[in-house]
């Protein structure tokens, strides 16, 4: 997708690739939303290539990509079948995006938030246990920046994200940090996750973050875990069930 210095031999391939990506995205969407049901046979290559207006090569390429994502089972002779959802790779970026885009019916943001809440809670606990004085200062500073931004919603949101990223980074758990960030980033791309807000959201976020910081300052591991978990899961539930609130940010 990135431009290469010598583009001469690229145009035909890149076009095919882009087509293939579009077909992959659409097929993933059809499967994730159940329009192509689990266990169902995928239509044969011919009709599919007519439907998408692409060559059979592109269809075949796309099917292979879906097989890698655990969405299709390709078997010689018996055709291509939609796999059971238990074997789908939910963390694949395209699969996850399709799930999130259709969250209203699929509820995947609830699951994602629980994962995030649990992992960030564990990381906050680790930080409470291992933090140095300088590290505590960094976290306190991140909270202070949020306080100063509380009347500018875009900057406040950014400062909020920075606060969470700081705690994760200081946990030194690269794996949990990496997984959480990936999920968090996907969720932030979703209007449904971002767009909803509720009365007094900012001040309540500040209060809850202050509880986390306080527990980290006291090196109280269970309290830090609890505070972070309650904050993440609680604020999603409040957003989710709140009556739609006119949002000042875009």
């Amino acid at each position: 997708m990135t431009a290469q210095p010598n583009a001469f031999d690229l145009p035909p391939r890149r076009r095919a690739e882009r087509l293939s990506v579009a077909v992959v995205t659409e097929l993933v969407e059809l499967i994730v939303t159940g329009q192509l049901a689990e266990g169902a046979l995928l239509p044969p290559e011919g009709p599919l290539s007519d439907h998408f207006g692409v060559s059979r090569t592109v269809i075949r390429e796309a099917a292979k990509r879906l097989e890698e994502k655990g969405l299709l089972i390709i078997s010689q002779g018996r055709g291509t079948q939609v796999a059971q959802s238990g074997s789908w790779n939910m963390l694949d970026p395209i699969v996850l995006s399709a799930l999130i885009d259709n969250d209203e019916s699929l509820g995947v943001l609830d699951e994602l938030t629980v994962v995030r809440g649990n992992l960030e809670a564990a990381m906050a606990g680790t930080v409470a246990g291992l933090r140095t004085a300088e590290e505590l200062t960094r976290i306190e500073h991140a909270l202070q920046v949020m306080r100063e931004m509380q009347h500018e919603s875009d900057s406040f949101r950014q400062a909020d994200v920075v606060f969470h990223l700081t705690v994760m980074e200081l946990s030194r758990n690269r794996l949990a940090e990496n997984i959480t960030k990936r999920l968090y980033r996907r969720a932030l791309e979703s209007n449904r996750y971002q767009g909803m807000t509720y009365e007094g959201a900012f001040s309540s976020t500040l209060d809850q973050h202050a509880v986390v910081v306080d527990a980290i300052a006291r090196q109280d591991i269970p309290a830090a875990e609890q505070a972070m978990r309650d904050h993440i899961i609680g604020s999603w539930q409040r957003r989710r069930f709140a009556p739609l609130h006119p949002d000042t940010a875009s």
Partner: protein, 256 residues
Amino acid sequence: MTDSPGPPASPLFPPGQRKRPANLARSVTAELVERIVRGVHPPGSVLPPEPVLVEDFGVSRTVIREAVKLLQEKGLVRVRQGSGTVVTSPTTWDMLDDLVLGAAITEADGVVVLDDLVVTRRVLEADMANVAARVAGPETLEQLGALVDEMDELVGDQEAYGRHDRSFHDTIMLASGNRIARAVVRSLESQVASTARYVGRPERALCVASNKGHRRIYERIAAHDPQGAAEAMFTHITEAWLVRRGGPGDPARLQR
């Protein structure tokens, strides 16, 4: 995707020889992933230019390009026009990718990565056990009970025990209904299942101890005790890892 379709379109799937460039690209990628994770090419440095890599690996430019694209997908490099292919900082690496995680674990400090993996896994599985204790129906309980009984008989057969073990954990994850949490645990598991460092030596005593943990989890879920089930799962995963762990360093991060 790797090259233009040479042979005429076959009715089903492409003939064998078209697979070769992709496989080559995968081995080149594996080698480059390892070098990057090992720090041979540190974050911020520029990867050797295409012709050098072509020479190094004795493969075509197409293969090298494909490999670099795969590295990009894994978040290990950024291709910038003019300044070449730059190694990114570890926070952007896809740690759930099998090559990346595999390389990180075989590093000198790999045991720390496994500690982190256990911390990650246990918090998610403990929470799923909590939910399972609230929602598990009779069939799930029956399955879990049967698996625990069978594992008592399999403590001498490491491989069969392992299969039942995974199935026990997966039954609980499925019962919880959290597909994302299950996906995270499964992808972590699948990538370390084959590393000796994680699996440990096959020992009867370890299986016996591990199945005591399973039985406690099963009993708490059957008693519909969410808190107890979560604690039992947490303890089981932690203890099972600590007896296998060995290795250097203090497992400070496992403390709580």
